[in-house]
């Protein structure tokens, strides 16, 4: 694969911008310019140590998005709203349909296409879209810029001040075999409470598409937002997600990231705790089998005093797969009286699989409470033995132990949504891997 010439990307960006308001077209152009000027990150840079950035460079211009979604996920009860406050489906980055429970539509929360919202709700969108590009040192910005220039669409979720959504917003996103770029914006205004559940899958298991995806999350003062990402792409898909978040005074952001698929995944998640009292809890589970290469980077920036964070990423690797986790935690002098905990645990299920863990703690003040932990090991023989003395076969004992290892994150997925599907996928993969 060679680095593609820029000209098809320029024309694609211009074509995408043709229906956009001027400010968005200008932002696309700026993104493309930065992408073109930036140069590829060097393999010597630590974030690209394990993943060659060349493999994320699109070989062609974005393909035209498919307009049919296919079968809906099993937990998707579009139209009945028993489990969700709103449903949305997206294909290749474009929102195809979105519906809000009519009984609570008067609350004024929005789930709609981002590009349409950019045109019709400029006051809500413009101040926030792209606003997090330079937070957390602009880490990973190059491919974020690419997604800015080329995004075909995405979801805009807006929860107004003081509104509590008792059921999650459920979004399903499916990608095909081409190159797609998407961008979504989630805004939780002050004092609101909401949960957003997004799952990403391939239209066909053999689709070898590439998705560059940026999601920007704004958590307002005193707001509580939980966002659940479940990635179940096919074996050949490439996924480069960039999730950037900013949390204001006394706001709480809970994220649950589940990565089960994709042949090559390079994920970046940043959180800026921008004002005192802001809190972030980030749980992640990664299961890699076959020849998957999953590379996750997190960056938590305690930019204000008395902020707190708790990050727990867990990976299980089987077959000849790879998982890399690089977790950066920064507490500058301005972040005094903050507390932070970071842990990364890896279960290695095969001699040919590998997990790399690199915690990076940059603590520039003494007035903090910080801890971190990293562990990498095969399944404990004693645990296996104990489970087998209870009558389980070795394969079932392994399944039980791995599922138990992931359970703290799975418990955070809203009831009736995806958790059972994730367990099924894990059980199937573990059955095949053992």
């Amino acid at each position: 694969m060679s680095v593609s010439p820029l000209s098809p990307l320029v024309s694609a960006s211009l074509a995408r911008a043709s229906g956009d308001p001027d400010w968005l077209a200008a932002a696309r152009a700026a993104g493309l310019e930065r992408y073109a000027k930036g140069g590829l990150p060097s393999r010597a840079e630590h974030l690209w140590r394990y993943t060659d950035p060349v493999r994320l460079v699109p070989g062609s211009a974005p393909s035209d998005p498919e307009t049919r979604f296919g079968d809906l996920p099993p937990d998707f009860a579009d139209g009945t709203f028993e489990r969700a406050s709103a449903y949305a489906i997206a294909r290749d980055g474009v929102l195809l349909r979105a519906a809000v429970d009519p009984l609570i539509a008067h609350l004024g929360f929005l789930v709609e296409d981002l590009r349409a919202a950019a045109a019709s709700r400029r006051a809500l969108v413009e101040p926030r879209l792209f606003a997090l590009r330079d937070t957390c040192d602009g880490a990973g910005g190059r491919f974020d810029d690419l997604a800015a220039a080329l995004f075909t669409g995405g979801t805009f979720v807006h929860v107004p001040r003081g509104v509590t959504l008792d059921r999650p917003v459920r979004i399903a996103h499916r990608v095909g075999g081409g190159f797609a770029a998407s961008r979504s914006l989630v805004v939780a205004e002050a004092q609101c409470t909401a949960t957003v559940v997004i799952d990403l899958s391939s239209a066909a298991e053999t689709d070898a598409g590439t998705l560059h995806e940026t999601i920007e999350i704004h958590v307002g003062r005193g707001a509580e937002l939980r966002v659940v990402f479940v990635q179940r792409l096919g074996d050949r898909a490439t996924h480069a997600p960039v999730v950037r978040s900013r949390v204001e005074r006394d706001g709480v952001l809970d994220t649950v990231t589940v990565a089960l698929g994709g042949g090559l995944v390079k994920s970046l998640q940043t959180v800026e705790l921008a004002e005192p009292g802001a809190r972030a809890n980030a749980l992640g589970i990664v299961f890699a089998d076959g020849r998957r290469h999953l590379d996750h980077h997190t960056f938590l920036d305690h930019a204000a005093p008395s902020t707190s964070s708790d990050l727990d990423y867990r990976a299980a690797v089987a077959g000849r797969s790879r998982s890399s986790f690089t977790g950066r935690l920064r507490i500058p002098a301005a972040g005094a009286r903050s507390s932070a905990h970071q842990s990364n645990r890896n279960l290695v299920l095969a001699d040919t699989a590998r997990a790399d863990a690199i915690p990076e703690l940059e603590i520039l003040t003494n007035d903090v409470s910080c801890s971190h932990a990293v562990a990498t090991s095969p399944i404990d023989e004693e645990q296996l033995h104990f489970a087998m003395t209870r009558g389980l076969s070795p394969a079932d004992a392994r399944k039980l132990i791995v599922l138990g290892f992931f359970e703290p994150a799975l418990e955070k997925i809203p009831p009736g949504m995806l958790a059972d599907g994730v367990r099924e996928v894990l059980e199937r993969k573990l059955g095949a891997a053992s």
């Binding site: 393999r43 394990y50 060659d52 070898a208 050949r236 090559l264 020849r291 790399d356």
Partner: protein, 110 residues
């Protein structure tokens, strides 16, 4: 396994190392005398880009490739790690020159 064309034989002169992206694989191909070797472009120690490394002669006279990152070496004919810091072998793929082409066998599940 599927045998596929990697490049023209003329594009891989003796003593050269080149990198090819084939589906999900990044491969390093080298030609030593008349033999063509194809290995994964990834050091088993720290994922260094082997294809950017140089060809060297090992202690036993075998052709080896040296990782540019930390100097680990691998025997091209077997994939065996012959020098620290790498200890695990790298994957290698059967390759041959057929007429004007270099052909390589890649596993189906790739």
């Amino acid at each position: 396994m599927t045998e596929r064309r990697l490049c023209a034989a003329a594009d891989l002169p003796p003593g050269a190392v080149r990198v090819f992206e084939v589906g999900p694989w990044s491969l390093a191909a080298a030609r030593v005398a008349n033999a063509v070797h194809v290995v994964e472009n990834r050091c088993s120690h720290d994922d260094g880009p082997l294809g950017a490394g140089r060809l060297v002669e090992g202690a036993s006279g075998s052709a080896e490739i040296e990782c540019p990152r930390h100097g680990a070496r691998f025997e091209l004919a077997t994939g065996r790690a012959s020098r620290m810091p790498a200890v695990s072998p790298i994957e290698r793929f059967p390759a041959r020159v057929s007429g004007d082409d270099v052909l390589v066998d890649i596993p189906e599940d790739a």
